[in-house]
């Protein structure tokens, strides 16, 4: 209760803050509160103000969780001029309710269909574009090269090789895969990849949109592949006790060898492991299915009730520029969606850029692609499956019930 009251206060406060803004003032609400992104945006905004002396930017920072809940309050009441948000279903939820401004004109003026060709599908609903992406990152398997070498394992490219690698590591008392599922979403990474590799992107998106039952045989096939990892105990023991951060030390101290996660893990690698950490693409399972990837994208939008849409458009155009995309992603250590912008020179980013460049298609991530209520229950099911794989029937029936209710 206390927490909810507090959120209410934050909402009220932010409403007050955004109403105080006048013409010439651009209000931006953002959840980039981690140290590196915070510094990066401070710099980019100073640059924007320098180029546009007539605009004063007011930059409001929120922590991630509070942001996700309060954004709904001010979007319907008195929104800022620009908001940070995410592509996929998260964006669609606001577009469907008419809360985001159509910015197709901005895309046309700045030739963005060409320069943002790879990101365009994720930003397009009903043939219109609803925002500007500023960064994305790859998912894949981060692993200990030294441990692989020591036990004579190569980078697995097929499912059989991957299973063999896990078996070898397990024999040598190393947990093959580190994971912390306390906050659920890490398990969804595994589901995404197993489902994408088993059934492909089209089926995956149909499932995310609630068009396919969870009790479908193809979903069962995905879980059958997953069981090949769960049943022999290839995942870190007691993973439900750890957050994703708490599961990292197992990888760093050599008790675990692999970690399927997003590129945001790389700044955390300890210095003494320099050169010992590697990255490989999630292995192929079904050769007839293309290599699809998870590549979550962070975006900027103009709320439809914004007061200063003109300056907001200037800011979005500014953020869509090649040089600024290069700059912001250099600081974030992520990949710019602009095709001519350069990702920072970094081993993992190079791999990610190459991998996503040749990908057959991308998804955002389970909890960004499907409805929030479905995502929450789905991820609980994944976590339970990773501990009790024999409960698969009960889990899938439960998820099917949620799907029918959510997508009625």
């Amino acid at each position: 209760m206390k927490k909810i009251a507090k959120l209410g206060q934050i909402a009220l406060l932010s409403t007050a803050m955004s109403t105080m803004a006048t013409a010439g003032t651009l209000v931006i609400n953002s959840d980039t509160s981690d140290p590196a992104p915070k510094a990066a945006f401070a710099e980019i905004i100073a640059q924007f103000e320098k180029e546009n002396p007539d605009i004063t930017v007011k930059y409001n920072l929120y922590d991630h969780e509070a942001y996700k809940t309060t954004i709904r309050n001010w979007l319907v009441t008195s929104p800022p001029d620009v908001v940070h948000w995410y592509a996929g279903n998260r964006m669609k939820a606001f577009v469907d309710r008419g809360l985001f401004e159509d910015v197709s004109d901005l895309w046309a003026e700045n030739n963005m269909q060409d320069t943002f060709a790879t990101a365009a599908p994720a930003m397009t609903i009903d043939g219109k574009q609803w925002g500007v992406p500023f960064t994305y990152y790859q998912w894949g398997v981060y692993y200990r090269k030294d441990l692989f070498e020591k036990h004579g394992i190569g980078e697995p490219t097929t499912w059989d090789e991957f299973l063999a690698a896990c078996a070898t590591l397990k024999e040598n008392s190393i947990a093959p895969v580190s994971i912390g599922t306390k906050y659920l979403w890490t398990a969804a990474g595994w589901f995404d990849y197993l489902n994408l590799r088993t059934n492909g992107l089209e089926f995956h998106m149909d499932l995310m949109d609630g068009k396919v039952p969870y009790t479908d045989d193809r979903v069962r096939a995905t879980f059958a592949n997953w069981a090949e990892l769960v049943e022999p105990g290839y995942f870190l023991e007691n993973h439900a006790s750890y957050s994703w951060q708490e599961a990292q030390p197992f990888l760093y101290n050599g008790e675990a060898a692999m970690y399927l996660i997003g590129n945001f893990i790389t700044p955390n690698f300890p210095e003494e492991l320099e050169g010992k950490m590697g990255f490989f693409q999630f292995p192929q399972i079904n050769p007839e299915v293309g290599m699809f990837e998870d590549a979550p994208m962070d975006t900027l939008h103009i709320p439809s009730k914004a007061k200063n849409k003109e300056d907001a458009r200037r800011y979005l155009a500014f953020m869509a520029r090649e040089d600024n995309q290069t700059k912001i992603n250099g600081a974030l250590l992520q990949i710019p969606p602009h095709k001519d912008a350069q990702a920072a020179d970094n081993y993992f980013l190079d791999k990610g850029v190459a991998m996503l460049g040749s990908a057959d298609g991308t998804a955002q991530f389970y909890d960004r692609d499907t409805d929030p209520a479905m995502a929450k229950e789905g991820m609980k099911g994944f976590q339970e499956f990773m501990v009790y794989p024999d409960r698969i029937d009960a889990i899938l029936e439960r998820l099917e019930k949620v799907r029918q209710r959510t997508f009625k």
């Binding site: 319907v76 306390k182 659920l184 007691n238 439900a240 929450k376 339970e384 501990v387």
Partner: protein, 305 residues
């Protein structure tokens, strides 16, 4: 306010102004007004608004759709709800350990020894720190990798157990964490109670040769009944509104097996964007609390008569 206060209690108020302007009539209401306004805005209105909301399908953004009792139908058909409900009952039952434990510690601490104040402060400490901190401390204590509990279990030759990742043990683990500050709270209530014991009664009992358990059971505990009453009320309420610990220690996990009604309400309304359904959970929780509140109010009225 300052002008009106000296007039309060003046013996010879003029009868002519008695009905209208007598400050003794208005002043109490003026003093009560801030509290009443706040109470109405933050308690009474939300209660009725929640009840109203629980008949709608609403995501917190778009239009509300009237769906009658559908939220409740779904609720009583949902495994999560019954899991949360039974966990709430478990909380209630096990939390009842807090008053007797608090009494035991209070009796132990109620002696005149040098340094007893410092010891009392130490026992009271868990009640002062935030629930979130209690939750964090206990999740480290239970950590299967480096937690103190598992170090101890391994030292005595057992296998480490991940209490917070085990669907059967997790609720007990969280309740144990919750009992820690709750016992301290009850202890403080009893300590104040013990200070107000009637010395004459105790002397009389001593003359009649009452000792030990008999003294405790027939002389001390009856005198502590106001403290016991409060201790049980706060413990019942504490058990029903258990939220902070669940949120910090497990977030309701693993797979929802440690969730309680308060947390379920929060999760449905805030994360799953289902305000109406969340409100229905809140209404059920409210009704359960009402049973206790009504019982205690009834007892209080009866004892005052």
């Amino acid at each position: 306010m300052a002008q009106s206060s000296p007039q309060i209690g003046l013996p010879d108020s003029r009868p002519s102004t008695r009905r209208k302007w007598r400050p003794t009539v208005i002043a109490p209401w003026l003093f009560l007004a801030p509290a009443m306004i706040v109470f109405f805005v933050y308690v009474i209105y939300p209660v009725f608004d929640s009840i109203w909301l629980s008949f709608f399908d609403w995501d917190g953004l778009g239009d509300k759709t009237w769906i009658g009792l559908d939220n409740y139908r779904e609720l009583f058909d949902s495994d999560t709800f019954w899991k949360a409900f039974s966990n709430n009952l478990l909380w209630l039952v096990l939390f009842m350990l807090a008053p007797p434990c608090g009494l035991a510690i209070a009796l132990f601490l109620n002696q005149q020894v040098a340094g007893i104040r410092a010891v009392k402060a130490l026992f009271f400490f868990p009640f002062v720190i935030s629930q979130v901190v209690v939750g964090l401390v206990f999740s480290w204590f239970y950590d299967p990798n480096f937690g103190l509990l598992n170090e101890a279990i391994v030292f005595f030759g057992g296998d480490p157990i991940a209490i917070l990742a085990d669907e059967k043990l997790v609720t007990y683990g969280i309740i144990a964490a919750g009992l820690w500050p709750q016992i301290a709270y009850c202890m403080i209530l009893y300590l104040t109670g013990l200070n107000n014991l009637n010395g004459e009664q105790i002397e009389a009992a001593q003359l009649d040769n009452a000792k030990g358990w008999k003294m405790l059971w027939y002389i001390v505990i009856p005198q502590l009944s106001p403290a016991t009453f409060i201790a049980i009320v706060v413990t019942v309420i504490g058990a029903l509104r258990s939220f902070d610990l669940v949120a910090t220690m497990t977030a309701g996990g693993p797979w929802g097996s440690s969730t309680v009604l308060a947390y379920m309400m929060y999760e449905e309304a805030i994360f799953n964007y289902r305000m109406g359904y969340g409100a229905a959970v809140a209404v059920v929780l409210f009704l359960i609390m009402d049973i206790y509140i009504a019982y205690f109010l009834w007892r209080m009225v009866k004892s005052e008569k």
